[in-house]
Structure formats: structure tokens, C-alpha cells
């Protein structure tokens, strides 16, 4: 399945959360893509995939933002995002958004066909496996809903982590349950979200893992934020940071020396 010519051009869809909150994930993604022989380009007119508007019912703004994304990423062989959620928005929802708009439908479908979530792209398209990466941690992986259900990313992250030296992966119960992030949901329905993230945290803590990872920064900010609020200090990193051997810096919400 994997095609591996060097110098394949990949446009990085940074995602708004990585851009603002955790640039290290973006640099980890660049490093990983380059390790598999990709030439990474970062189109500078990108902002966000449009989900905040889409999930709030503002279809008009969503379409305008989506049209901008389609333009910004035109012509690249691949578009890769370090997020199942944003990749899912582009691959599953953009074509739906423009289904009655013949001018943009083909472009939306074309972009959808070229867009990938980072971890599955590394594994399935680039045949990547981490080499010489060492991490002496007991780690649990959270399946984000969009990675799991929209992008079918399940085995790829687990498989890639199995090549990291000294890393022990432990699975939490109720893996398929949502962490309660849901974008604006976690702000609008904070009490319901709190109950959901607490259930998630109980399952995570029960694994006795000392590190948590996932492929979506939204979930990680939610879970890490709640862990710290409750006085737990588990280290939380995006999976790109782990695979790229960039696990040394502070995790999400962790003190900075």
C-alpha cells in the first residue's frame, strides 16, 4: 500500500489548537513527515478547519472558511493534520457542505481525497516506524471520537508506539467513550462535560499509567486540564511528540522549569 518516493510534497494543516496552544506538536509532525522523506510546506493563509462555526450551526461562515481552506491547500499531493477531528472535518464534512454547490464540490472532494490524519498517514501511506526512539514510560492512549469513528485510526498509533524502546502501552476501560470535550460543548455544558471527563479520568488512572497520549489536542487539553484541577500530575503529550522523540519538555499543563 505504501508509496515511498522521496521528496513527496505534504502540506501541513497545523490546526488552530496546535498553532496557538502547542506548536511543539506541529514541529513534531514536521520532523516525522521529513523522516519519511516528505517535503513539508505550511500554507500561510490557513487558520482553522471551521468546526467551531459548523458545530454551532453557522453554516454560512463554515462554508466560507472551508472554501478558504480548499483554496489554501489546492494542488498539494497530500494534506496532513495532527488531528483526527480536523482531518475528519475536511474529509467527511467538506464534501457534505458543498453537496449543492457544483462550483466547489469537486474541489472539496479532491481535497478530501488528499487529506490524512498524521498517524495513519505515517503508518499507512509512508510505511513509517520510529527508529531509535526510547521512552521509559507506562502509557495509555485515548482514542478521540473523530480519529476512531471518522478516520478509523485505531491500530496505527498502537502499532507505531510498539516500536518505541521501553515504552509499555496499557489500555484503559471504556476506550470508545468520549472524553467530554466536544469543542464548544465543554464550555456550554460544562457540568455534563465534567461528569464525562471524570469517568474518562477514572478509567485512565485505573491503568496506573504515568503518561497519557492521544492524536487530538482538544481531548488532551480537556483531560489534562481536569487531571491537574483534581490534583493529579500525569504527563500528557500529543502522540506526534512521542513518536518524534520529543517527550522531554513539559507536558500539557505541566510546570515549566
Amino acid at each position: 500500500m505504501s508509496e515511498k518516493p522521496d521528496n513527496v510534497e505534504v502540506a501541513l494543516f497545523v490546526t488552530c489548537l496546535v498553532d496557538i496552544n502547542r506548536p511543539s506538536v506541529g514541529f513534531a509532525a514536521v520532523k516525522l513527515l521529513e523522516e519519511t522523506g516528505c517535503r513539508v510546506v505550511v500554507p500561510d493563509t490557513q487558520t482553522c478547519c471551521g468546526q467551531p462555526a459548523y458545530n454551532s450551526g453557522d453554516r454560512k461562515s463554515t462554508k466560507q472558511i472551508a472554501a478558504d481552506v480548499i483554496r489554501a491547500f489546492k494542488g498539494f499531493r497530500y494534506v496532513v493534520a495532527p488531528s483526527g477531528s480536523c482531518a475528519g472535518m475536511i474529509t467527511k464534512h467538506y464534501p457534505e457542505l458543498f453537496k449543492d454547490d457544483p462550483d466547489l464540490l469537486l474541489d472539496a472532494q479532491d481535497l478530501a481525497a488528499r487529506t490524512y490524519e498524521l498517524v495513519s498517514f505515517l503508518k499507512d501511506i509512508r510505511g513509517f516506524k520510529p527508529e531509535g526512539v526510547k521512552l521509559d514510560r507506562k502509557i495509555t492512549y485515548h482514542d478521540s471520537c473523530a480519529s476512531l469513528r471518522e478516520m478509523k485510526v485505531v491500530d496505527q498509533p498502537r502499532d507505531l508506539m510498539s516500536h518505541i524502546e521501553d515504552l509499555e502501552l496499557v489500555e484503559a476501560d471504556d476506550r470508545e467513550a468520549c472524553c467530554g470535550f466536544g469543542g464548544t460543548f465543554c464550555i456550554k455544558y460544562s457540568e455534563v462535560s465534567e461528569e464525562m471527563v471524570d469517568r474518562k479520568i477514572d478509567n485512565i488512572l485505573a491503568t496506573q499509567a504515568d503518561m497519557l497520549t492521544a492524536g487530538d489536542l482538544g481531548c488532551l487539553m480537556n483531560i489534562a486540564g481536569r487531571l491537574y484541577r483534581k490534583g493529579h500530575t500525569m504527563k500528557v503529550l500529543h502522540i506526534a511528540e512521542i513518536l518524534a522523540g520529543m517527550s522531554d519538555g513539559p507536558g500539557l499543563g505541566e510546570e515549566r522549569r
Binding site: 510546506v41 487558520t47 467551531p52 462555526a53 454551532s56 456550554k188 460544562s190 457540568e191 465534567e194 486540564g225
Partner: protein, 475 residues
């Protein structure tokens, strides 16, 4: 029932703090989901059957008028009656007339969501006719004077201790003066009380899982056998069903039945599957002397040909709520109307109005698990989003939320300005957090920080750093 969907936040806040409810919902979460997963994995053709079931239901919806008339013709041919009702008022009037014609004092009832939808019990009681629920769960909530909290397990929110108290309060008049704490004995007590009611009831009312067009039969599936006694002992049997329950053939019934119980409880089949075809014939030993089908539209034909049509495929298995993390957290009553969980969140705005039910389609993370397990592939998240778009169009909901999204959208459409603003925001937040790495409280993000710390940004944005590194993009 009184609609309280408007108070979803208050309802759910109360529910989340209720430890009994939490224990009950945990049983739903682990019990039903495991059972469904096992049942699905044990049947190799399960996915195929889901697709077939969806196609059967779609075929019905495309030709609903044809199948309904076909069904009516067959019911009439067996000597039964069909009452077409466009709304709850008409349905209740039709049921009352049938009851009055036989001078009914009491009616026994099998489990029926449609009679919940039209609030039949309250209506009959006000007309001096005593309704008696015979499904154990429905019986329990009838005693408690509560609406169902789950479409297949109406009393799933009740603990055994609460049932002990309810029975103690209501069964003393039948001579049960001791508090019964053993679950099996509680069931026995209910059975003994109900046994007498079956025999003396004048009318039996049941719902229907299917209305079979080719035979004019109605079908119910139950696990308690109460439906059989309800419909075969009284002299009059009334079936109350909404019109999308019609299905072309017996063959189709057997297809959909194979996904129904598996999706609902994880059983291969429910314990009882009962077909009712007209009143008793002269050679029959028992059965009702008259047979009525009350067919309710209740806003459903308005959904045909719209974004909501796929909701009419629903076979009321409850899998969506069994798998819903929001339902697991808040329980069924928080939704504030008859249908809880994802299906309720998608359906209720149509039934009780978007203004009243606006919270329901919003209180979802779009995690997608409901659609993943729905036996007839109803795209529930897509329908929830449709309601959010309607609400946005009609300016329903708090203005600040709307302004927030519009403001964000304004920047997201202007990359240069966006870059500037996000750059400042990231630096300010980094500064506020200092070496802590997180922020405890932030006025504009109170919904976030009321529950969690905000992991702080790392300083400059990715785009700034990228540009600085000299690798600034082309295109």
C-alpha cells in the same frame, strides 16, 4: 407529560448529583453495551442485516401511503377497525370512544411509547377510566407518577430500594403490609397484583413494534408476556401505533427482528413475539371480540422528504441511548420529554418545538457512537447539526454564544488579522500562566475553567515560529 426540555441544564445538574441514578446508569452503560457488542459479534451477517433493515424502512417511507392503505384493507378484511388520527387529541378521542362504547372502567396496558407521547394515562384517568400499566417497568413508574427514562427500560433509573418503598406504599391495600426487599419476590408481588387486573379489565391497550401490511397483523415484542395477557383477556383490544411502524411483509418483520433485540438488550430475540390479526374468530377459544388500530401521525408525515425523514426508520431499540456518554451522565429525565437520549435529542425539537427543546441537539459532543450502533443507520449527529443550524438561523439561544462564534468567524476568515490576534492571545496566556504551565481561572473562558485548568500555550504560535525559522511557506 409536562415538557421540561427547556430546563435541560437544571435537570442534568440535578441528575449528575444523584448517586442512585449514577449507579442505575452505570448498569445501563456496562450491561447493555457489552450485551449488544457480544450479540453483534456472534452474528456474522449482523452488518448485512442492518443494511437490509435500513433499506426495508426506507422502502416503507417512500411508499408510506400505499402500505398504510394496504394494511388498513387487511385489518378491515379480518373484521378489525382502523382509526386514522392526525394528532394526539384525535387519538385520545378515538380511544375514549372505543372505551365508552364498551362502558370500560379499567384498561390494562402493554408497554407503548406512543401512549406516552399522547399522554394517554392522564387523559383516561381524568375521564374516569383507570389505566393499569402491566409492563413491570411501566408499572413501577406509573406508581411513582413519573415518565419513562428509557424507551425500552422505562424504570431503569430506579433502584431496588426505591421499588421496595413504592410497592410498600401502594400494595398495602392488597394485603402486602411487609416491606419486600428481595428482587424476585418484588416481581412476584407485582405479578400477583396485576394478575387480578388482567382478568377484570374491560379493554387492553398495546403498542406495536410492527404493523404488517400483507396480513394486517400487529406485532409486539416483550420479555414479560404481559402484552399477551393485555391483548387476549379483555373483550376489546386497541393497538396504538404511529404510522411509520408499518412494514410490507412477514419476511421483512423477520429481517428487522434479527437486529432489534440484539441492538436493544443483546438478546437474539425477545422472549415473546406476539402477532395479533383481527378479533377472535368463531373457532378461537380466546381473544378479544373487537380489534382496533389507532394510527397516529403526530407530525410524522411532515418529516417525510425533509432532513428528518431518516428518523422515521427508528425501531425504538434504545441502542443510541445505551451507548450515549451524555445519556450515561444525565439519564433520561433530563431530556424533559418522552423520548430521551440521542433519538430524543433529534426528534423532540420536531415534536415539542425547537425553542423548547433547543438544548437537546446542542448537548452532544458529536462523538458519533449513536450512529455507529443504530441498527437502521440513522445519522443522528447530522440531524442534531441540522437543528443547530435551524436554531442559528432563527436566532434561538443565548446571544453571547452567537456573538462569540461570529467574532471568531470574522477572524478565521482573515488570515493576517487572525495571525496577529492569535499571536497576541498566545503570548498573553503564556504570560498569565508563567511557570505554572496552566491557568486556573479566566473570565472569558469561565465554562472551561469552572471545571478544568487551561493548559497554557507555549509562547509564540506555530506560524510565528515557522516564519521565523526561515521556512515560511510558498503558496
Amino acid at each position: 407529560m409536562q415538557v421540561t426540555s427547556r430546563k435541560f441544564k437544571e435537570n442534568s445538574s440535578k441528575a449528575i448529583k444523584d448517586d442512585d441514578l449514577r449507579a442505575a446508569l452505570n448498569r445501563v452503560k456496562t450491561g447493555f453495551t457489552t450485551a449488544r457488542a457480544n450479540a453483534a459479534s456472534e452474528l456474522p451477517e449482523f452488518e448485512d442485516l442492518r443494511n437490509k433493515s435500513r433499506d426495508i424502512k426506507d422502502g416503507v417511507l417512500e411508499n408510506l401511503d400505499y402500505y398504510l392503505e394496504y394494511f388498513e384493507e387487511k385489518v378491515l378484511a379480518q373484521g378489525g377497525h382502523v382509526h386514522w388520527c392526525s394528532n394526539a387529541t384525535e387519538a385520545k378521542a378515538a380511544i375514549l370512544k372505543i372505551c365508552r362504547d364498551v362502558d370500560a372502567k379499567t384498561v390494562t396496558k402493554g408497554k407503548s411509547m406512543i401512549t406516552e407521547e399522547i399522554a394517554l394515562n392522564r387523559f383516561l384517568a381524568a375521564e374516569g377510566i383507570e389505566p393499569i400499566e402491566t409492563d413491570l417497568g411501566e408499572y413501577i413508574i406509573q406508581l411513582a407518577d413519573e415518565p419513562p427514562s428509557h424507551i425500552i427500560g422505562p424504570a431503569v433509573h430506579k433502584t431496588k430500594e426505591q421499588v421496595t418503598e413504592l410497592f410498600h406504599e401502594h400494595h398495602q391495600k392488597y394485603g402486602y403490609t411487609e416491606r419486600e426487599e428481595d428482587a424476585e419476590k418484588l416481581v412476584g408481588e407485582a405479578r400477583a397484583v396485576l394478575r387480578h387486573k388482567y382478568v377484570t379489565a374491560d379493554v387492553g391497550i398495546t403498542g406495536a413494534n410492527f404493523l404488517v401490511a400483507e396480513t394486517g397483523s400487529t406485532v409486539i415484542v416483550t420479555n414479560e408476556g404481559n402484552g399477551d395477557l393485555t391483548q387476549s383477556l379483555p373483550k376489546t383490544h386497541i393497538v396504538v401505533a404511529s404510522l411509520e411502524k408499518v412494514i410490507p411483509t412477514l419476511e421483512d418483520v423477520s429481517t428487522v427482528m434479527r437486529v432489534l433485540a440484539r441492538s436493544a438488550t443483546g438478546q437474539e430475540m425477545s422472549v415473546y413475539t406476539t402477532f395479533s390479526t383481527g378479533p377472535k374468530r368463531s373457532a378461537d377459544i380466546d381473544g378479544p371480540e373487537s380489534f382496533h388500530v389507532v394510527l397516529l401521525d403526530g407530525g410524522r408525515t411532515e418529516m417525510l422528504g425533509t432532513e428528518l425523514e431518516e428518523l422515521l426508520r427508528c425501531i425504538r431499540c434504545g441502542a443510541c441511548m445505551n451507548h450515549c456518554p451524555v445519556y450515561h451522565a444525565v439519564g433520561g429525565h433530563s431530556y424533559g420529554w418522552v423520548y430521551p437520549g440521542p433519538i430524543g435529542a433529534a426528534l423532540n425539537p420536531q415534536m415539542v418545538g425547537l425553542e423548547e427543546a433547543r438544548h437537546l441537539p446542542n448537548a452532544s459532543t458529536f462523538c458519533g457512537r449513536c450512529e455507529e450502533v443504530c441498527p437502521v443507520h440513522i445519522p443522528i449527529p447530522k440531524i442534531l447539526r441540522h437543528w443547530r443550524e435551524k436554531a442559528f438561523e432563527q436566532q434561538i439561544g443565548p446571544k453571547p454564544e452567537r456573538w462569540g462564534i461570529e467574532l471568531w468567524g470574522f477572524f478565521a476568515k482573515r488570515p493576517t488579522l487572525y495571525r496577529l490576534v492569535t499571536g497576541i492571545a498566545a503570548k498573553v496566556l503564556t504570560k498569565i500562566a508563567g511557570s505554572r504551565g496552566r491557568i486556573k481561572s479566566l473570565p472569558l473562558l469561565g465554562g472551561w475553567t469552572s471545571v478544568r485548568d487551561l493548559p497554557a500555550p507555549q509562547g509564540a504560535t506555530f506560524m510565528e515560529q515557522w516564519k521565523k525559522s526561515g521556512r515560511g511557506a510558498k503558496k
